[in-house]
Amino acid sequence: MAEERRQKLCSVILPTESMKAIAESVGVGSLQEESCLALSEEVSYRIKEIAQDALKFMHHGKRRKLTTGDIDHALKLKNVEPLYGFQSQEFIPFRFASGGGRELHFYEEKEVDLSDIINTPLPRVPLDVSLKVPKEQQKTDSTEPLKAVKPGQEEEGSIQTKGQGASSAEVKGKEKMRMKPRSTHELSVEQQLYYKEITEACVGSCEAKRAEALQSIATDPGLYQMLPRFSTFISEGVRVNVVQNNLALLIYLMRMVKALMDNPTLYLEKYLHELIPAVVTCIVSKQLCLRPDVDNHWALRDFAARLMAQSCKTFSTTTNNIQSRITKTFTKALLDDKTQWTTRYGCIAGLAELGHDVIKTLIIPRLSVEGARIKAVMDGPVVSNIDKIGADHVQSLLLKHCACVVAKTRPLPDMVDQYKADYGYLGTMLCSHVVKARAQAAFQAQTVNRTTLTITQPRPTLSMSQSGLSASSGSRTPNIIKVPSSLTLMSTRPGTPTQPSPPATKYIVMATSAGAASTQQVITLSSSQSGSSVTSTVPSNPTSLQPLVKLESGTTGAVSGSRPLQKYIVVSLPSSSSSLENKGSGVLPSSTSPISMESAVKLERSESPAANIQSPH
């Protein structure tokens, strides 16, 4: 083989045609064939000689690439005038054209407008040479080698492959200081396949596969490279599915979070900024499923709350203060009167999971207030079934968590009257629970049973009839946490009589009140919240709370049939009264909203892509 190559090298000679062409270009008209041959041989030889000299300069320049400068220097060695200014941006500056039976190579020179050159801003001055030294090493005299690689046959092989890989520990150790440009960590093909399989299995329909995938996530040791992808997958998934109220998928995603947390080789701290907002969303979101009266979204809230508590325990430090920030968030929502029952439930569950101390200091003092609220729903006029269910769940949740704490803290005689005086409406039930808990505690030191999350709901089919909500709303603001009822997310069914538009048109309206004071209040609340939870939660910019109408004429989403889909998202801030009402009903108040819708729609039709609209409330 080597021989062949050598022979090839030997026979490389410039064609005689080029000699002729060059001769013509300098005015020598007819050149004999023999002269051409002799010339081409001579020239080929000289060129090879120069190339060999140029290689010397390359070696001494400590490069692997031969440059034009090297050739200039080699020419200089031979006392030949170097080729100044023959540096082209492109590899070969010639263009080819043929026509009229002639083939032509020409040098393409573009006409350049001088004023363009003058007016273009000067290019950035290239950075000067600088010397980079790992500072921490500069002073140390430690004998510990930077990265000891014991020489060994097998190891060496692995090291070599590692060295070529994108992020090897060795490289990081030594090159830490100079990794200035951000490097992209590319996954290998195998990893990409794995990632695809895992994510598909996790959100797919086959429960067996899912269990397997979750098992893999929870146990595989080599997932750290994929961790950022998983975390993004989860956070994006929650973001999308909360809007679509896809309870099943949310549950699957939370199970993924759980599996990731269970994996002892993964350290999630760097990805909490994505995971915690997702988890918190699943705890406190106002609506997690399509039919809040039937679906068991409460279990998801419980489960997510437990995850939250676990991550607080694992990752909360004095510097990131996760637990205190999360607690503050929950408490603020709990204290808010306008908080919906669903959110309220989530807040209480989230707080309760944080431990007995938290229950004692934050929930028990609120018992009487909450009791009064529940009583209002239970005993008052039937507003809606959903509210009732919500109140019912909150009540049982409170009883469940408070009972054992009260049992531990409260002195023994459990008088119902006493309880009633202390805790109001819930006192009676609490008393019986406490008695039961005491009995139980005395019976055995049984741990608080932790319900495992089970899917109580068949995977909802995403059909057109379900209001086309499966269409992904890409224009959602990145703010997932709509924590304390500052925003309401609701949908009007396509069948709403006020809508003359074709059935595929969809409105997501975030209703609000026009009351300046209340709006103001909401905004401050939410912004202060974002301030308090900056790092762990999603960057929630207060501007996203601005009433905003966005027109999306998109064929996006699953429902995009042949018809173009038009989607309106109307966001506005809730008023104190009507929004509460809205939340209760889950449907837009028929009296006010249609008007606003109409106006919004009109505006949309007047071709404003994104118009800010004040709700007429």
């Binding site: 080597a2 021989e3 050598r6 022979q7 090298l9 030997c10 041989e41 001579e42 080929s44 030889y45 090879k48 000689e49 060999q52 010397k56 300069f57 070696h59 001494h60 320049g61 400590k62 490069r63 692997r64 400068g69 220097h73 060695l77 290239p126 950075l127 000067d128 040479v129 600088s130 010397l131 980079k132 030294v133 790992p134 090493q137 140390t140 005299d141 430690s142 004998t143 510990e144 080698p145 930077l146 990265k147 000891a148 690689v149 014991k150 020489p151 046959q153 060496e156 090291i159 060295g163 090897s168 060795e170 490289v171 030594k174 090159e175 200081m177 100079r178 990794m179 200035k180 440009p181």
Partner: protein, 774 residues
């Protein structure tokens, strides 16, 4: 240069004169440019009467010559009687001298040779010139006969290695004229095939040795064909047999393959070298006899002539060598080393440390050392002192080379050095050094050379855009000395005058030095940190002051790119080597070189001073390493074995060993005293640009273009080798293949080729290179 040698060879009686003429005292300005002496042995070829004395050494006498008399016919005997040749030689020499205006020498030579009447006998060249190309016209054609005669003389035990320098380019036609005698070109393939078949049929033990013949024979036969205008035959010959050659000759074969015309031979220096220097083969006596018998039987005169004329066969008694042994030593441009070359005594020991009263500033020590063990330290210091008092038997005389006097500042530095060395970390296989990597960012200009000062306080980088930049590796900033006018205002009596002369306004972390007009290929700090040397493509070596950050001197002499330069460990002297194939020794206060070390057949790529400053080592593109004696300019060691140009050299701190790295990615270890290769470290996959021994010599660090730093257990490599005078006599020892055991660590950088390595005084390893973002 080579003429000087020849003069000496031809006229041994005048040796004293020329020696006196040539050997300028080191510290005085030399009168002529030719200040150095070629390493040519003193034995001479054409002086028959001197022969018996010369050939006193029985083994080194080429014993094959006993038989060679029958076969070898000097090619130009037709040209004239030996007597006449001598005269022609002298005339040629005279003409050369005259041309160079060395009238005094002309007179002396003429007087002694009784040549008064013959000086204008130029008619001789018509009768005696080489066939076909009598175009020399003047002394050149005479010279040609001189060189041919000497090359062809069968008695020549040791031909000098003829060397070119810019002073006397031997005429090409002359050098090549020996090719003009030829056999039938169509039979060349038959000859070669015949020899090949023979060698392949001999016993295994001889085959490896005789296989060495292939390459030189192949090249010479090819060149003969080319020279005699048998272009197609030459091509066919090349195609048929080039594949048989050893892979490490690939580079040379590439040059050869482009060469198909007689005209190409002119001006191709590589081939001139091949022709002028006889390719050295080392073959055991048995193998040689076998070969001789074969060639005699076949009457294969063509091959025999080539062997006689262009090859030098160094015959040794003993077992034939194995293939691996041969491979480890071959690969150089001109064959192996002749054993005689490395016989000279080398004083590789270190010089005695000067007595310095270490001021017992214990308070200072204690301040630095919280534990406060002044007692222990003191004993250590004493032990060091006592060691240095004892004169090393292998060390040269203290004043063998005049060295500069120690200044007060040097003494202070020595004291600092001692203090630091007491804190030095003892390295070993279990205790590897930390590596601190200095990476040059944004070095679009191309970082070509780096050097650290001995105390690791300064760092210099040479760039392809002709600049030299100096950085401070410590928080202390670099400051210039104030201008003369400002200096006048300074109170010269004050204690802190040294501080006052510095201009605070100029303080910065780095300084640029502009002056070169081509890429800077070598930089070297002076040991006292006051000067910096840089060598460049523009043919100059520049000396920069690190006080004023200006250029002080431009040393011109190399007319071609200067690839490397290095300061003597005692300052004052420095050595440089470049594309003109010579290394030059300079003193900073002389604008002309003190010595010119000529002998390499291709570019001198790197140069280093021995720790005792008495020797200089050079590595070259001809894949050989030479050690030169600074005192007399002789080449005292000649090492072959690398398969590519040598780009890095390092002496062990005790001066006994040498490590060399080349483009083939191998590090070779050499015992200087015995002149032997004692180790081969394989592992790097690209050119090794940096080599450094740790301060105590236990660890050898190598840095390469393949972005790795590797640490080797040099202690083990040296200890494992049993070198004594006996092994030295045979010239080769079996090399164990233990690179893997010796490799202690390997450290990857992501994309930063390692350009330089340096051990601090406390044995922290510093590495430097330019980050390559592609």
């Amino acid at each position: 240069m080579c003429l000087w040698c020849r003069i000496r060879q031809k006229n041994p009686k005048k040796k004293t004169y020329y020696a006196a003429h040539v050997m300028t005292p080191l510290l005085s300005a030399p009168g002529e440019k030719m200040a150095a002496v070629q390493d040519a042995p003193m034995e001479l070829d054409s002086e028959k009467e001197t022969k018996p004395e010369i050939l006193s050494d029985g083994t080194s006498n080429l014993s094959g010559n006993t038989a060679s008399g029958t076969l070898s016919s000097p090619p130009l005997t037709a040209g004239g009687a030996p007597k006449q040749e001598d005269q022609q030689t002298l005339i040629a020499v005279l003409q050369f001298l005259r041309r160079n205006k060395l009238t005094e020498s002309v007179d002396i030579l003429r007087r002694e040779a009784c040549l008064e009447d013959q000086e204008d006998s130029q008619t001789l060249d018509g009768s005696g010139g080489g066939k076909g190309d009598g175009d020399g016209g003047d002394a050149n054609s005479l010279l040609s006969r001189v060189s041919i005669a000497s090359a062809a003389a069968p008695q020549s035990t040791l031909t000098p290695i003829p060397v070119k320098s810019e002073y006397d380019q031997p005429d090409v036609s002359v050098v090549l004229s020996a090719y003009s005698q030829q056999g039938d070109p169509s039979l060349y393939q038959v000859y070669y095939t015949g020899l090949k078949n023979f060698i392949e049929s001999v016993l295994d033990c001889h085959r490896a040795e005789l296989s060495q013949l292939f390459y030189p024979l192949f090249v010479h036969m090819y060149l003969e064909l080319v020279y005699n205008n048998h272009e197609t035959k030459a091509k066919a010959f090349f195609e048929k047999f080039s594949g048989d050659q050893e892979c490490y000759y690939q580079d040379d074969l590439q040059i050869l393959c482009g060469l198909t015309k007689k005209e190409h031979l002119k001006g191709n220096e590589a081939l001139l070298d091949f022709r002028t220097s006889r390719f050295v083969l080392r073959i055991s006596r048995d193998s040689y006899q076998l070969l001789k018998r074969h060639l005699q039987e076949r009457h294969n005169n063509q091959i025999w002539n080539i062997i006689q004329e262009h090859l030098y066969i160094d015959i040794f008694d003993g077992m034939p060598r194995s293939k691996s042994q041969i491979d480890s030593m071959s690969g150089s441009f001109a064959g192996e080393t002749r054993r005689e070359v490395n016989k000279a005594k080398v004083f590789y020991g270190l010089l005695k440390e000067p007595e310095i009263e270490v001021p017992l500033d214990d308070e200072d020590d204690e301040a630095e050392n919280e534990e406060g063990k002044p007692k222990k330290k003191k004993t250590k210091k004493d032990s060091m002192g006592s060691k240095s008092k004892k004169q090393d038997p292998n060390a040269p005389q203290q004043n063998r080379i005049p060295l500069p006097e120690l200044k007060d500042s040097d003494k202070l530095d020595k004291i600092m050095y001692m203090k630091e060395s007491t804190k030095r970390i003892r390295l070993g296989p279990e205790n590897l050094p930390s590596i601190c990597f200095y990476s040059f960012l944004n070095a679009y200009q191309g970082l070509t050379a780096v050097d650290f000062t001995d105390d690791s306080s300064l760092l210099a980088g040479g760039f392809a855009d002709s600049t030299v930049r100096v950085w401070s590796a410590t928080p202390k900033k670099l400051r210039k000395v104030k201008s003369a006018a400002e200096l006048n205002l300074i109170d010269k009596e004050s204690d802190d005058v040294l501080e006052r002369i510095m201009d605070e306004k100029t303080a910065s972390e780095s300084k640029n030095l502009y002056g070169h007009s081509g890429p800077v290929y070598g930089v070297s700090f002076s040991p006292d940190r006051n000067y910096l040397l840089s060598s460049s493509e523009d043919g100059t070596v520049r000396l920069w002051s690190l006080q004023t950050f200006t250029c002080l001197v431009g040393y011109k002499g190399h007319n071609y790119p200067v690839w490397d330069t290095h300061f003597s460990p005692f300052g004052y002297y420095f050595v440089s080597g470049g594309h003109d194939r010579v290394a030059r020794l300079w003193a900073t206060d002389h604008y002309q070189p003190l010595r010119i070390f000529a002998g390499h057949l291709a570019d001198v790529t790197c140069t280093r001073f021995h720790p005792n400053s008495n020797y200089v080592v050079t590595g070259s593109t001809d894949r050989t390493i030479r050690l030169w004696d600074v005192l007399n300019g002789n080449c005292v060691r000649f090492f072959t074995g690398h398969k590519g140009p040598i780009h890095s050299l390092a002496f062990s701190p005790n001066g006994k060993f040498l490590a060399s790295g080349s483009t083939d990615g191998r590090v070779l270890l050499w015992d200087i005293g015995h002149g032997l290769m004692i180790g081969e470290l394989k592992g790097h996959t690209d050119t090794i640009y940096a080599l450094k021994f740790s301060r105590d010599g236990e660890i050898l660090a190598s840095g390469s273009m393949d972005n790795t730093v590797r640490l080797w257990d040099s202690m083990k490599a040296f200890d494992d080798m049993e070198t004594d005078d006996f092994t030295a006599a045979t010239g080769h020892i079996p090399l164990p293949d233990n690179s893997q055991e010796l490799l202690l660590g390997m450290y990857h950088s992501k994309s930063t080729p390692v350009t330089h390595l340096h051990f601090t005084r406390r044995n922290l390893l510093l590495a430097a290179g330019a980050y390559n973002s592609q």
